[in-house]
Structure formats: structure tokens, C-alpha cells
């Protein structure tokens, strides 16, 4: 703020801020920038506000008051922050916080919300939709009933059907009045052309004309406005009682509070709808024996996979870094390029290529390296786990090699020199000097790598797809599945229907586990830094 003071005319009382008189000269700060910045700012804010007004208009039109209120509050806050001079930290933080809110906080809360619902393939809409779909699918065409040519008529908000029966008779009827022989539509009714039929299609589709006075003889309905068939309904919906009744057996289906119409014997009507079911998804994950035991094995393997992947990559990377860092080694550059190569291939590709190379009978590994032995690399549970670890090591050591090379080269020579003077051997220097110093630099990266491998979806998915399958569960999960691939299979898998609710519950569990690991390990890292 030093420049502000120097630019204030001497003698004049220092003005608080330029808001009161923006025209007092460009150097008087309306904002912290010049006139160009001011114009840019006003234009950009104007765009935001214009979009916000449009958004509010739409949201209020939809009756979505909560979203409208949130939008209004956010935009008001943004305007306040950028128009008011000062609060510089706010100006920096706002965009970041904004994205944090959209991409992190909202996602977590929404996932959390879904995990308390039964959202899935068979419960994916509202109860209203479910009721209308059940009504629609319960319409059954009377076997071998003929096709009737129909014309649609309208009077005020009444709709009627003029029917030519296959025998040549003609008749007219409406929703209230059953078919009656007539040579044409009554006076005052206007025939709808195709365009009008399309415009009033909801009403036309709802036209339901009784063939006789007895409703059990069926009703005429049309699906295209030109042909009608006789339908009978197998289910009747009672709006007041909120129940469906089977017209033949008399079985009553009522709302079971879990998103289904259920009869007393437990049979349900499809589809169901989405409701909040509380902790059921979490309880299911821990109590259902189809999922409980496999889930525990998957969790253990996930930890083992993440730990060994990180450890193996680090160990190999560090080893190569030390070897290639040796002052007397020739052709270092060449070796380093070779080592980094795996890093350049996308995992999706290498996963598939490795799967082919590990084929039991025709794979390169068995054919060439093991002389035609049939080693079941990918179909034996333990060998499959080993294969996944080895392939992931191959994919990941280059990164560790780069990191370790950098860290080794930045170690202070004098400390090592001093150790040598004290008579320490190479191993001693490595263990007591280099490694601890290295860890200070690499530990956060190791934690990040661990967290990454914890959710290392592509390598598992492309290499083994989680196979070989567990034999003691009907869920399509297997020995090499980690939690994230298991969640994927439950949410989007090829087997049965998708279950977003359960998948969200498992995601939240993963989130909690990863958060705990991160918290603990960063605390540990701090104590490492104290070594320094």
C-alpha cells in the first residue's frame, strides 16, 4: 500500500477509499487495479450476474426454491467480494472455494445422500412414474380381439372415439359413455387431425372407452390415434387407499415403505421407486453373508495391494536410482531412458498387453521365458495377485526411480563426506544417512502413491478384471478385486441390475478409510521431518 500514500496529494486528508468518488482520478482506487482491470471486472461480473438472473428465472419457473436461494446467495456473495475493495484473501480464495464446493463437497454429500436411498435400476424414478408404468403394463389386449379403425373427436375438454368395427358397424364412445352405435360423431364434436392428436396426445392416450356397459368386457384404447384394440386391465389402482388390486385373484398390493408395491405373500410389482432407506445399505454390506466375507477379503487385499505396490515400486526405483547414480557407471543416460519407458505407456494399453503375455498357454511369459510351461498366471488366485503386483511394479517403478534419483542428487555431500571420515562403510552410510534424508523428501510421495494405489482401478480392471472369481459368493467379485473395482462392479457391473445406493455406501466407506490413512500418515511424516 506504499504507493497509495505517495500518490495522495500532500496536504489533502487521506481518503478512506475511492468508492465515494470514482471519477476523482484513475489512481484513486475503486479497485486495486487500473481502469482496464476495472472494466474487465465489471464486464465479467456483469456476465455472471446476467447468467445468474437467467438461472434464477429458470429455477423459479421450475419451482426449485432451494437451488434458487443457493444460487442467489452465492452470486450476491461473489458480487460483494469483488466489488468491495479490500478483503484481498477473499478475492484469491473465492474461485478455489467455489470449485472445492462443486467438485468435492457437493459430490461427497450427494454420494452420502444416495447411499441412504435404494437408488438402482429397479428403483430409479418417482412413485408417480412407477404407478403410471404399472397401470400401463397391466393393460392386456383381449386375445384375438380385432383392430378397430378410430377417429378422435373433441368437444371442449371432452374427448371421444368414433369407431369402425371390422364388421362394418360404427359406434361412438367417450371415457364416461360406453360405445353406442352411431353413424357419426354427435353434433358439436370436432374431429382432430393428426397435428391436434399429437398436441393433445396425453388425453388421447388416456381415452378409455368401455366396449359395453360391463367394464369387464374390456375397453378400447388407441396407441397411435388411428387404430384401437380392446384391452382389459389386470390391476386396478385405488388412489385413495394407494393400493393395486389384482382383478382376477383379488390380491392387494400396498406401498411397503421401501419403494415397492408389495402383496402379503411378498411378491412385488415392478418397477419400484426411489426412497430413503436409512442405514440399510451400510447394514447390508456388513451383515449379508454374500457380501460380508468377500468384502473383508477385498479390504485386506486392497491394503496389501496398495502397500506392496508402493513398497515394490519404491524398492526397485530406489535400487536402480542408486545403481545409476554411481559415479563410475558408463552410459547412464541410455539406461535412464530405458528405465523411464514403461512410464510413457498408458495403463489401459499395458494392462491388456500384459494380460495377453500372461496367457496360460499362448502367452509370451510361459512360452518363451518358462519354456512352454502352463503356469496359470491369471487364473490361480495367488498367482493372479502376484501378477497384478508385478505388472503394477513394472508400471510404477519408473516414477519412483525419477523421484529417488532427484532426491539422491540433492543430498548434501558434506554429510556423506563426514560419515566417510568417521569410517562408515557404504551400507552404513546408506542406512543411517542417505535413507533417512531421502525419506524426508519422499515420504509424502509414498503416502500419495499409497492412496493412489488404494484406488488403482485401471491396472486391476484391464489386467484381470478382478478374476479369478470367488466361489463362495454370487456377486461377480474375485481374488484380485480391490474396493474400487468392487464398487464399480456393483454400481455398473455386467451381472444383475445396478445398485447405486449400495455402491455409494461402499464409496463412502472407502472415503473414510482413505481419509483416516491420510490423516495418520501425515502425522507420521511430521515426526519424520523432526529428524532434520
Amino acid at each position: 500500500m506504499a504507493d497509495v500514500k505517495t500518490e495522495t496529494p500532500t496536504g489533502a486528508p487521506p481518503r478512506r477509499r475511492g468508492v465515494e468518488d470514482p471519477g476523482f482520478g484513475p489512481k484513486r482506487r475503486l479497485t486495486s487495479g487500473g481502469i482496464v482491470a476495472l472494466v474487465v471486472k465489471v464486464v465479467l461480473l456483469g456476465i455472471i450476474d446476467a447468467l445468474a438472473v437467467f438461472g434464477l428465472y429458470v429455477l423459479i419457473g421450475k419451482g426449485d426454491w432451494v437451488a434458487a436461494a443457493v444460487l442467489l446467495a452465492v452470486v450476491a456473495l461473489v458480487n460483494y467480494i469483488y466489488l468491495r475493495p479490500g478483503i484481498l484473501p477473499g478475492k484469491y480464495l473465492t474461485p478455489g472455494l467455489f470449485f472445492l464446493a462443486i467438485f468435492q463437497v457437493f459430490v461427497i454429500f450427494y454420494t452420502g445422500y444416495i447411499s441412504f436411498t435404494n437408488y438402482g435400476d429397479q428403483h430409479n424414478s418417482t412413485k408417480e412414474d412407477a404407478v403410471s408404468q404399472i397401470i400401463r403394463t397391466s393393460q392386456e389386449r383381449v386375445p384375438d380381439s380385432p383392430a378397430y379403425a378410430v377417429e378422435i373427436y373433441r368437444q371442449a375438454d371432452q374427448y371421444g372415439m368414433f369407431v369402425s368395427e371390422p364388421g362394418g358397424d360404427t359406434a361412438f364412445g367417450t371415457n364416461e359413455q360406453p360405445l353406442e352405435e352411431a353413424s357419426g360423431a354427435p353434433d358439436g364434436w370436432e374431429r382432430l387431425n393428426l397435428n391436434q392428436i399429437l398436441r393433445f396426445q396425453d388425453e388421447v392416450l388416456a381415452l378409455n372407452v368401455q366396449v359395453t356397459d360391463d367394464v369387464n368386457d374390456g375397453t378400447l384404447r388407441t396407441q397411435d390415434g388411428s387404430t384401437a384394440f380392446v384391452f382389459t386391465s389386470t390391476l386396478e389402482y385405488d388412489e385413495a387407499a394407494d393400493t393395486f388390486t389384482d382383478t382376477e385373484s383379488g390380491v392387494v398390493y400396498s406401498d411397503d415403505g421401501e419403494g415397492n408395491f408389495r402383496a402379503e405373500d411378498g411378491t412385488t410389482l415392478t418397477p419400484g421407486w426411489r426412497v430413503v432407506i436409512g442405514w440399510e445399505n451400510y447394514a447390508y454390506a456388513f451383515t449379508n453373508e454374500q457380501i460380508r466375507d468377500p468384502l473383508i477379503r477385498v479390504v485386506i487385499w486392497t491394503f496389501a495391494f496398495a502397500f506392496f505396490s508402493t513398497f515394490l515400486c519404491f524398492a526397485l526405483g530406489l535400487f536402480l536410482a542408486i545403481v545409476f547414480n554411481h559415479p563410475t557407471l558408463r552410459g547412464k543416460k541410455f539406461y535412464r531412458i530405458l528405465v523411464i519407458l514403461p512410464y510413457a505407456f498408458p495403463v489401459y494399453l499395458t494392462g491388456l498387453v500384459w494380460a495377453g503375455m500372461l496367457n496360460e498357454e499362448f502367452g509370451f511369459i510361459n512360452e518363451v521365458l518358462f519354456g512352454g510351461a502352463n503356469i496359470p498366471w491369471l487364473s490361480d488366485p495367488w498367482l493372479a495377485r502376484l501378477s497384478v503386483l508385478v505388472v503394477n511394479m513394472w508400471l510404477g517403478y519408473a516414477y519412483m526411480f525419477l523421484v529417488c534419483t532427484g532426491a539422491l542428487q540433492s543430498l548434501p555431500d558434506d554429510v556423506i563426506e563426514a560419515a566417510k571420515m568417521d569410517g562408515a562403510g557404504a551400507w552404513r552410510i546408506f542406512r543411517s544417512i542417505k535413507l533417512p534424508l531421502l525419506f524426508v523428501a519422499v515420504a509424502p510421495l509414498l503416502i500419495a502413491t499409497f492412496a493412489f494405489n488404494f484406488n488403482n482401478f485401471p491396472v486391476i480392471f484391464m489386467l484381470t478384471g478382478g478374476n479369478p472369481r470367488f466361489t463362495d459368493t454370487t456377486l461377480p467379485i474375485g481374488s484380485t478385486d480391490i474396493m474400487i473395482t468392487m464398487v464399480y462392479k456393483i454400481a455398473f457391473g455386467s451381472g444383475g441390475g445396478r445398485d447405486y445406493g449400495l455402491a455409494s455406501a461402499l464409496s463412502i466407506l472407502i472415503f473414510i478409510i482413505v481419509a483416516i490413512i491420510a490423516a495418520i500418515s501425515f502425522r507420521q511424516t511430521k515426526s519424520l521431518e523432526d529428524l532434520h
Partner: protein, 417 residues
Amino acid sequence: MKVNRKGVVGLGALIAGSAVLLAGCAGGGGDTSETEEGGDASSSITVWVDIERKPALEPISKTFTEETGIEVELVTKDFATVDQDFISQVPTGKGPDVIVSPHDKLGAYYAAGVVAPLELGDVADGFTEASLAAVTYDGKVYGVPYSVENVGLVRNTDLAPQPASTYDEMIAAGQAAGTEYPFLVGLSPEQGDPYHLYPFQTSFGSQVFAQNADGTYDGSQLVLGDAQGTAFADWLGTQGAAGAGVFNANIDGDKAREFFLAGQSPYYLTGPWNIPAISEAGINYAIDPIPSAGGQPARPFIGVNAFFLSSKSDNAIAATNYIVNYLSTEEAQLSLYEVGGRPPALTAAYEKAAAEDPDVKAFGTIGETGAPMPAIPEMGGVWSDWGNAELSIIKGEGGAPATVWQTAATNIQSSIG
């Protein structure tokens, strides 16, 4: 000034973010207002189609537009995931009016409540019985079929001049040909392939679900584990690694084709999709019925591609008209046949196509005996255990084939409840 620039950049980022957010709101809102008011929305219908079939639908859609004044918007979707998109988007009101889809997804569509039943009337008479059964669920027709596909036995006529009538004859001829493999079929080393092995299974009289009188399947009656199923499992064991070694789990679909193209086997069990590659490779081939292993006819699965109507279509009348009256014509079905090469479902169109192309006729004849792939939601829970059981049996793992088979059947029964 450094400070100011950063401020402006941050502001720009903020605006970009808000714009994205607002665009999202606006898009959603726009759709709703349009559809709720009706009017404009009813002048067009949206069809989800894959890129291959799109050109075939264009002329028919044009005719439709000319005759009714309703625009048809053909939206290209990825065929592999179109069923999942359909199930999740229809309830939001953003789905299409019409979707092109394989029939075996029908059960899932029904369970999710995203398809509406169609009344075909006289149009139904033009279709083959199997293709209609495929699009029928719980007694009601939900789609208009347009193509039928199934596997057949492709024979390299240079290596095996005569067709074989039984499985044993085929293997004997295959061994006599002196090639590396007597017979090839693609299996997955991880999941097996019940689809390709199904003809052999049916030749023992084994099915997955019991069939109702009208050809549809009863999801409550899993018959996989019955005596016929066990007989098939025992037989499969004798042909796997522990026995004759004809079936090899390590030969996947790509390898099987590669070996056949290289002339390493006279017989190859595959579908019409591999015929172009075989004929391009210059192999003299014939397409034979699948030989029986268990004495009864070997019936492959029939896959039917069909058009379905969304249950939340804003324009159901126009869409129904389009599906039932325009896509079921001989012209439309032939035009779809020409782009995809799959035998048409409409009998009249199929006969024309078969007269022109002997391969279509051959696959179509085999398909006449086939069984529609069950289109019930329970089917989704069957594939994985089923394939794994076959895989274990072929590899000779997990004990006696009959035990492995029974375990799979019990597992499936408990998962579909």
C-alpha cells in the same frame, strides 16, 4: 500490477465455473419448460441408434417426416452402454422416444419401468415366431424386431469337404484333417463363454430357464441344474483339459479367429460377424448346422435387435406410429439388413435377403431351430456363475463336473432369489 492480473485471472476462472454451473441449470430448465408446454415438442421424436445403423434409418425417417410432418432426430449412441444410459436417463425425462437395442436387455428395461408395451396388431403376423417371442415379456410385446442373429458352424471346405452330422463325427473329421486343432470356439480365459457353448448344452436337452407354452421364459424356474444340465457338464469335462482337450479356455475369441484364418482347424463355431474376415482371408468355407453332442438338436441362442418405445416419451403417439408402421416395413428391414448384414426379422424381408446371400440363408436356417436368449431380468444374474462353472469344468478344476455345475446352479438360484 502482478496482484491485479491474478485477481482478474481468478475472476475469469470463477466466471467459467459459474457459467458451467448455470448452463447446467439452464439446460435442465429449458427442456422441462419445452416439454411441459407440449406444442413444439411434439413435432419431433428422438431415436437412439448406433453409428452403423444410422444411415439405414435415414431414408425411412425422411419418409415418415414427409408423411406426418414429424421430425425424426437420430442420435448416435455407443451400443455397448446404450442400455445403461437408457435405464438411467428415461426417468429424468431426458431419454429418447425410441431406442435400438438387443432384445435380451428387455427384462432389465421392464424391471426399471422404462419401456412401454406396443400393440402390433396385424403387423405382428409378418415376423418370425422366434423374433416375436424375443420381444415379448410377460405376455406383452414391447418391441418391433428387425434382425436375428445366431452362431453356426463354419467349415473350411478344403480341410473338411463333407459336413459332419454329429459332434463326434466332426471331431473325428477334424483330427483326420491333421490340423493343430480339430475344432475351434472362442472362450474367455477368465469368464468362459456360455453363449457359444449353448448349442452343445441344448443338444443334451438342457436349458437355463423353463419355457412357457408361448416360448417366453419363466424366471422363477431355473432348470440349469437338472439332469440334462448335469449330463452336459459331465460331457464338457470329457472334452476339456482333463479329457480330450478339444475345448481350451486359453483360446479366446481373437485367437480362435486367428487360428481359423491361418487354416489351423477345419471347424469354427462363430456368428455372421466373423464371416467378412473369413471370406477376405480367401478361405473356402461353408456354414453348417451345429452338430449335436448329446443326441438332441443343437439349438443356439438367438439374439434379436429391436426398436423399443420409451415409457416416458413426450410424443408416444408419433413414436409408436414410427416404430409400428414404418420400421416394420419390408423396405425398412431390408435397408437395415444392407448396412448390418444381419438377417432381417420380417419374414418377407428375410426371404429376399436369403435369396441373394447364401450365408444369410445358412445362418437363418440354423436360427430357425434356435432359442431366443431369455430376456428376463433374472438372466443378468446367470452369466457370471454359469461361465465360471464351464470354465472350471473345461480346466478340470474344482472337482467333479457335476458338482461344479450343481454349485453354480445353487449359487444362481440364491442370487436371483
